[in-house]
């Protein structure tokens, strides 16, 4: 590049990155870099980034963010699980459990020079997920991820795998990429929690084979100042099941994309999220962007997203159901709801349907408004103090999303976190 030419934001971003070389993923990384170069980073007029500014995610360096210090017991701590800990994106062997669990093989991306199953898999779902909509940060992740886990599930492990992301440095900028492959009939529960760094870019690729079941529950940590862009790419084969729930409280900026293809007949995919934001401490901008493609017969998909917003918090939902020609008997459902606790907060939504098959049942609904005054009045007239009444109503508003978590213990864990948040953010 000549000195006269102005560096593009992508040049600047790439200049700050070090692309790991030499592993089984080298080819996939190069291809991802080419994809990224061809598409560039999201611009101000990018329709897919209409309501979320990508500047802080595109910049060469992260905006410094102080870790949130609390003595509270981290989420999922009481559960029996296999812990894998990343501290500012760096694997912490001492804090992690040995990767030994029946029915499952776990390897780290940074430590897998050759890995048969993952060689063709790494980056493949991300690449497929680039059409029809470009997802530059995911391509960037595939190209530059420094670590992550590669999990192959052959049976039904006795306990969940928990990825824990600890944020310690003000300027950490981790890029992690995980691959999960469930063989036919296998089953796995994957838990994720923690903010990971000042700025976090994460990709999770999940292949669900025939009759396999994948459960995913994540809590994105309590740090107010962190920024995160995450992508889930999943492909669900015949009779496969994919279920994912995300809890987001706090965070200056969160963009969670979820791209799922129902590739086999009778496949099921549910994605849900509860986001609670209070702009009083720091900005809160939360964006759920979901794209579900039905490409087989008799598929079922559900998107359930709820947001509770106060003090200038902003919630974004872009959800799409695409039913391809021939994907008959599809049952697609989508609901996005926002509760605006005061006049400063905003909800911006685009619930989309694109349907090319006739024998389908697809619907979506979206509502936005304040807490129901009548219900509030009823509770107060029964002697419930106003703040408690509000918390009760907010919890019932979130119930549909939380109900997407199948495991009762996990559900209780999430509800407890929600209650604690509500107790902290009264008024």
């Amino acid at each position: 590049m000549s000195a006269v030419e102005k560096a593009t934001p992508l040049d600047t971003r790439l200049g700050a990155l070090e692309i790991p070389a030499g592993s089984f993923a080298a080819k996939a990384r190069r291809a991802a870099l080419d994809r990224l170069t061809a598409m560039g980073l999201p611009g101000r007029r990018d329709e897919y980034w209409r309501w979320t500014r990508a500047d802080a995610l595109s910049a060469a360096d992260p905006v410094p963010a102080a870790p949130f210090v609390t003595d509270e017991v981290p989420v999922f701590d009481g559960l029996d699980r296999l812990k894998i800990v990343f501290r500012d994106g760096v694997f912490d062997a001492a804090a992690s459990d040995p990767f030994a669990l029946e029915g499952i093989e776990i390897t780290r991306l940074a430590e897998a020079p050759e890995l048969g199953w993952a060689a063709g898999f790494y980056g493949s779902l991300e690449e497929a997920g680039q059409t029809p909509v470009k997802r530059p940060f995911a391509a960037l992740n595939t190209a530059a991820a420094t670590d992550g886990v590669l999990i192959r599930v052959t049976g039904r492990p006795s306990k969940p795998v928990n990825l824990i992301y600890i944020h310690e440095s003000d300027v950490s900028d981790p890029i992690l990429h995980h691959c999960v492959k469930l063989e036919p009939g296998a089953e796995l529960t994957l838990l994720e929690n923690g903010p990971a760094g000042a700025r976090f870019n994460k990709v999770l690729e999940v292949e669900v084979a025939e009759g396999a079941r994948f459960h995913h529950v994540r809590a994105q940590g309590r740090d107010h100042e962190r920024r995160a862009v995450t992508h889930i790419f999943a492909r669900v084969a015949e009779r496969g099941l994919f279920k994912s729930f995300t809890l987001t409280v706090n965070g200056v900026l969160t963009r969670n994309e979820c791209v799922i293809t129902l590739a086999g007949d009778d496949a099921v995919a549910h994605v849900a999220g509860a986001a609670l934001g209070d702009g009083a401490h720091a900005d809160f901008h939360h964006d759920d962007t979901v794209f579900i493609t039905h490409d087989a017969l008799n598929g079922e998909s559900r998107q359930v997203f709820k947001k509770v917003l106060k003090h200038g918090a902003i919630g974004v939902f872009q959800g799409k159901i695409l039913v391809k020609p021939g994907a008959q008997k599809t049952d697609g459902y989508q609901i996005s709801q926002a509760l605006l606790m005061d006049d400063d907060s905003q909800f911006l939504g685009k619930p989309e349907l694109e349907i090319y098959a006739d024998d389908v049942k697809c619907s979506h609904g979206s509502t936005t408004g304040a807490l129901d005054e009548t219900a509030l009045f009823y509770l107060r007239s029964r002697g419930v103090p106003v703040e408690e009444a509000k918390a009760l109503l907010v919890l019932s508003f979130l119930a549909d999303a939380i109900d997407e978590i199948e495991d009762a213990a996990l559900k209780d864990e999430i509800v407890a976190r929600l209650e604690a948040w509500l107790a902290r953010h009264r008024g």
Binding site: E47, P325, G326, Q328, A338, L340, M341, D342, D343, S345, Q346, F347, L348, G349, K350, P351, E352, L353, E354, I355, Y356, A357, D358, D359, V360, K361, C362, S363, H364, G365, S366, T367, T368, G369, A370
Partner: protein
């Protein structure tokens, strides 16, 4: 009981008749008439020429030129879910006028009978038959008869407006926009471009530069327009773009119901129609705008048809203003149209009822925008999309609640119906809520024609096409009911005709 049965039979008979009358596009013929064309292509000279042909004042020419200069810097929009073939804007005629209209006829009696015959054939009461025959006093028809005043636009010019005198009595101005520019410059200057600015979007800007005619309506304060007003658009000439511009102003406390219809001959080359409709509604006034859009949709292989790229917007400028858009979109090869409501005045209301039918290779991307700016504003959207054949039908809409628009309400319902497995139905709603005392609700469903309902109809002796037409009419019921009576009848049979050949 017996009577009730008879009525029901009557309804059935009517439906069956409508279905039996289903033919191919009914308005596909062409009027052979000598035309006066401006040279092909667009340039500042063409803009000047159009302005000159309309005998316009300097300020109007300047307005057009400003639009033209902006337009050359603009790009066609690509965001709609449409596959629009490249349009060569230099290969179109921007002005076509029947030769006989060179000298504007002073009254309908001077209008070329061929033109009148064209409209008669289209079934438009351009001039009631009595008036046509020159019977004195025919305009003072007995009270109680339903009267509709019509402005008829043939290619680039308005050929006549009926009931002008009667409307003038009530203080209503209803004329072509070219006349309004000459006769009521103060109103045109004040309101033209105030809802859809010259530079609004690619097609609206093109229209601002080259619009040749259209209708103008002004309803004075406190006046209820004594009859329904209507404009009929006919594209006749080949390779001609039609760019009409309609401006409706309802002053304080006024009311008007306005109908619009459109047809074009069957041709295998596509034609461009880029219209602009602006509606200004002041305090306590109400406007109902109903469209039955039946431009030639192209043949069953997708050849020809009208490209309908239209900008329609109503501005509820003051308190308690009210607007209602009702549209039945059955024609056009490609439709790109979003009649919108800007709810600026407190307590103002906007409603949008739409049926969009796309069959064969038609493509429709249509919907509305409800922009809530004032307090306590209300809006309602009911959209019914029907796709058949290989068609693609998209609802695209925006509901926006600004921070100041407290205590506002929106309810949106978008339903899509698919007939056959080669077509597509899509929904792209945008929702922006920036205050918490407002409530926004959006619901959308997509399904196919219900098998049980079809089976029931078949069991009653209908063949499949009749049964589908009946079920589809039921699906559209909420919108059909919002239409003025004579439009509702026409729309109902159009629904059946548009779906012809889509079953089996």
């Amino acid at each position: 009981m017996e009577q009730e049965l008879e009525i029901r039979e009557g309804v059935d008979r009517e439906t069956i008749e409508a279905v039996q009358n289903m033919g191919s596009y009914k308005y596909g013929w062409e009027t052979e008439i000598e035309m006066d064309y401006a040279p092909k292509g667009i340039s500042e000279d063409i803009v000047r020429l159009i302005s000159k042909k309309n005998d316009e004042p300097e300020w109007m020419l300047e307005w057009r030129l400003a639009a033209y200069r902006r337009w050359v810097t603009m790009e066609e929009p690509h965001w709609a879910l449409l596959d629009v073939p490249k349009i060569d804007f230099q290969d179109l005629y921007y002005y076509a006028r029947p030769k006989s209209m060179e000298k504007k006829p002073r009254s309908l009696e001077e209008v070329d009978p061929k033109l009148l015959a064209t409209y008669e054939k289209l079934g438009i009461p351009l001039k009631e038959q009595l008036i046509l025959a020159g019977v004195e006093g025919a305009e003072d028809m007995p009270e109680g008869e339903r009267q509709v005043a019509v402005d008829a636009v043939f290619d680039s010019v308005s050929v006549g407006t009926t009931f002008k005198a009667k409307l003038a009595e009530a203080g209503v101005i209803f004329c072509s926009i070219s006349e309004a520019i000459k006769d009521h410059p103060e109103l045109v200057k004040k309101y033209l471009g105030s809802v859809v600015p010259q530079t609004d979007n690619f097609y609206a800007t093109l229209n601002a530069a080259v619009f040749s005619d259209g209708s103008f309506v002004y309803i004075p304060p406190g006046t209820r327009c004594p009859m329904e007003l209507s404009t009929y658009f006919r594209i006749n000439a080949e390779n001609t773009g039609q760019f009409e511009r309609t401006l409706i102003i309802a002053d304080r406390g006024a009311y008007v119901s306005y109908l619009e219809g459109c047809t074009a001959p069957k041709r295998d080359t596509a034609q461009l129609h880029a219209a602009v409709v602006e509606i200004v509604i002041l305090e306590d006034a109400e406007v109902k705008y109903s469209t039955v859009q039946n431009w030639f949709p192209g043949d069953e292989n997708g050849k020809g048809g009208i490209y309908n790229f239209v900008t329609k917007r109503a501005d509820c400028r003051e308190a308690r203003a009210k607007v209602m858009w009702t549209q039945v979109e059955t024609g056009s090869a490609i439709t790109w149209k979003y009649p919108s409501c800007v709810l600026r005045g407190d307590d103002s209301q906007g409603e949008f009822y739409s049926i969009a039918i796309a069959n064969n290779y038609q493509q429709a991307d249509t919907g509305t925008k409800m922009v809530h700016l004032g307090k306590n504003t209300r809006s309602r959207i009911v959209s019914k999309g029907i796709s058949a054949g290989q068609a693609q039908n998209t609802y695209r809409g925006l509901v926006s609640m600004h921070p100041r628009a407290t205590n506002s309400r929106n309810y949106t319902q978008c339903d899509s119906l698919l007939i056959g497995d080669k077509c597509g139905a899509h929904t792209v709603p945008y929702i922006e809520v920036k205050n918490n005392s407002s409530r926004v609700e959006h619901e959308a469903t997509t399904s196919k024609v219900d098998d049980d309902q079809l089976f029931y109809c078949r069991a009653r002796g209908m063949d499949e096409e009749e049964a589908v037409a009946l079920v589809v009419n039921g699906f559209c019921r909420e919108v059909l009911q919002a239409l003025p009576m004579e439009f509702a009848m026409e729309a109902q049979s159009l629904v059946a005709i548009s779906l012809e050949g889509s079953v089996g």
